[in-house]
Symmetry: D3
Subunit: 156 residues, 6 copies
Amino acid sequence: MLPGSYFDDLKVGDVKLTPRVTVTEGHILAYAGVAGDFSPIHMDAVYAQTTEFGGRIAHGLMGLSLTDGLKVQSATFKDGIALSWSWVFKQPIRIGDTLQARIRITEARVSKSMPHMGVVVMAIDLVNQHDQIVQTGEHGLMVPRRPEALEGGASA
Amino acid sequence: MLPGSYFDDLKVGDVKLTPRVTVTEGHILAYAGVAGDFSPIHMDAVYAQTTEFGGRIAHGLMGLSLTDGLKVQSATFKDGIALSWSWVFKQPIRIGDTLQARIRITEARVSKSMPHMGVVVMAIDLVNQHDQIVQTGEHGLMVPRRPEALEGGASA
Amino acid sequence: MLPGSYFDDLKVGDVKLTPRVTVTEGHILAYAGVAGDFSPIHMDAVYAQTTEFGGRIAHGLMGLSLTDGLKVQSATFKDGIALSWSWVFKQPIRIGDTLQARIRITEARVSKSMPHMGVVVMAIDLVNQHDQIVQTGEHGLMVPRRPEALEGGASA
Amino acid sequence: MLPGSYFDDLKVGDVKLTPRVTVTEGHILAYAGVAGDFSPIHMDAVYAQTTEFGGRIAHGLMGLSLTDGLKVQSATFKDGIALSWSWVFKQPIRIGDTLQARIRITEARVSKSMPHMGVVVMAIDLVNQHDQIVQTGEHGLMVPRRPEALEGGASA
Amino acid sequence: MLPGSYFDDLKVGDVKLTPRVTVTEGHILAYAGVAGDFSPIHMDAVYAQTTEFGGRIAHGLMGLSLTDGLKVQSATFKDGIALSWSWVFKQPIRIGDTLQARIRITEARVSKSMPHMGVVVMAIDLVNQHDQIVQTGEHGLMVPRRPEALEGGASA
Amino acid sequence: MLPGSYFDDLKVGDVKLTPRVTVTEGHILAYAGVAGDFSPIHMDAVYAQTTEFGGRIAHGLMGLSLTDGLKVQSATFKDGIALSWSWVFKQPIRIGDTLQARIRITEARVSKSMPHMGVVVMAIDLVNQHDQIVQTGEHGLMVPRRPEALEGGASA
């Protein structure tokens, strides 16, 4: 299992700062190659210079992928099962930006359908090196309950 | 510019089936390497066999990344600017699954802040080879308006 | 099927400009890793500075691979089957160059062996951001015929 | 410099068998990600099963890229400068095929414009594990002359 | 900083089992592409079948790279600085093997040259799904000391 | 088989300089993605600037992987089987560094357990473009014996 907390060790209001990652040209090429998205704003520097962004930017959803990866690297949760994301793109991510996610737990309840799991909802901001929120949203995750908490059969 | 339609050529109710992509082990390794997410459910076959999934599954957000890439490959829109995603994970994506996105435009209006762009909202299902909806949600995208439509200054 | 034209919608003299791609260090590393070519002119900056090129250059055939990929991204043809390439390297491709292919159809005839396909021959130039032709040649491609055109059994 | 022969050590009729490479799903994904070509015949197993090929095949030009990489791995030539390729696709390359190139020198002359280099022309077949020629053609390459051969100023 | 223990929280005899990773064809291709090693035993299935291994095997040093990566994923140490490895290859790693590292601390002392760091020596086995030790050796790592432990100036 | 020497053609004291490789950002991302090591000193430019290194550095073991790859590219040995490495990290490897390995054979004896192979021990330095030894150590390798040398049955 991954290092990280069981559902029963988390509570609403908990805040976690993840590790950071610096976005490079290589990230854009590798992400384009998985997603199959070679849009000019990501791959064509000549075009990108003519846009309001003034240069190539990262795929918006690569920001979300990095956010989720940083969440895992932060060892905040034992192996979870993702339920949902609701996500808004606010600022472009540029080559050389260093990103960090700020996670705040907003809801935590035992799952009705899977009582050995808890449902955690969190508000997440993806922040760059200038302390700008570049992407933001809400994420739902199922997190395993502490085995001892389950033995009595009662939900927390 | 990408091949695809201007905002003015799209209307509510339009439906598009994208190309498909078969998910391979290599997708999972490459996605893990960009996102930095090596969770056992994706990388550890011994662990994955013990779970309810019975084997390794793709990262949930790789499904979203593929959805967006298939959208671009479908040449549905001229180069857009992504605004938001609201996305729910319903079924696991397994190695060997072949995925396709079904896009239906649910809303289309001229942008107030950027009148040379239109805001398009679409409902998207990501469907596997068994015709199961594995992921589903809503996506907001800014799409450029047809230059001729702008000349008179009126919004459609 | 890919977006793009059927054979019957193409004619000799048609010209297409593809999307563009900016070549990065990451392209060279990724291409070397597929092709298995780690020649010093691509991988060793110290050596490359001593050559007539004055620095590292891309693998010549990566230029051809990008040309073909840009052709697909341009949505010029429905899914074709490649027959042949005849290709000449004229100028080096440097890191940071932005490339575009110019495609001109020079021949189009119904295939004798596969009458539901047409054979298209095209002259292609790969052009950099200084409008220099860096690579050039000829490409033969089989393109599917429009289903309606086939029904009467006559070839166009 | 790469291990391999100088121009002056090569002669018309020389034949070389390169190392071999087994083509995997990962090659196709990685090549697609560099070239930007996600055509269904390479990426969509459901579609590919309906074609005459009966399954996914490798990008034709990946075969050429592998041919050139195998040439470099064979240490046949000191660091050369590619001039041209003329190449024909004869059979599909399938996942799991093991490929080898057979190189035969057909022409060798001192370069007029760059007398410290020789021009070598070779006929190359790319052969699979069933001894079928899957791709074939001709390649022109500039190869450095042996320094001693240059000292007298005479061309071989 | 990475999640994990400070030097002062570790002691000789501590044992840690890391997460696991399943080795895929894609790992071999990606590792070959970084290291530049396309030896036939890794890349050529036809050749590999004729060897004592009976099929393709992973690069030996990829086993060491995975070992080190699993160590980091185990969140055993705060960000360390690697000093040395002494490593022996005992069994081949095959495609499909699932690997785990077993780490045992054998030595721990405050660094003389960098008193805010501790030197940790550990014995590591890399074990496959059949509980065979495939690779084994010793690793030296500098680990940061707990800030409070430093304040008094005394070394533990 | 790989180009390179049989055991019987090697002798103690032989020295070989390998080709070189320039380390790029892409190497770090690709290596991180295989090894699963996203430690901040490699991936987080903001953090790395605050360290004694003053910026991001390559994974130490990537230096060893490159050393081994350069060894293979140098065509020094026929296909060998790696036995062991003993390796020390002396200086960081920075983005843009160009590395070369210097190999000196220090021991060569016929294998007792596998008499058709020889055991070669070599001292290897990995050197950067400033002629600094960044990593150094010893490597044991089994190298095939020349078929003719085996016929008489005597070991060299």
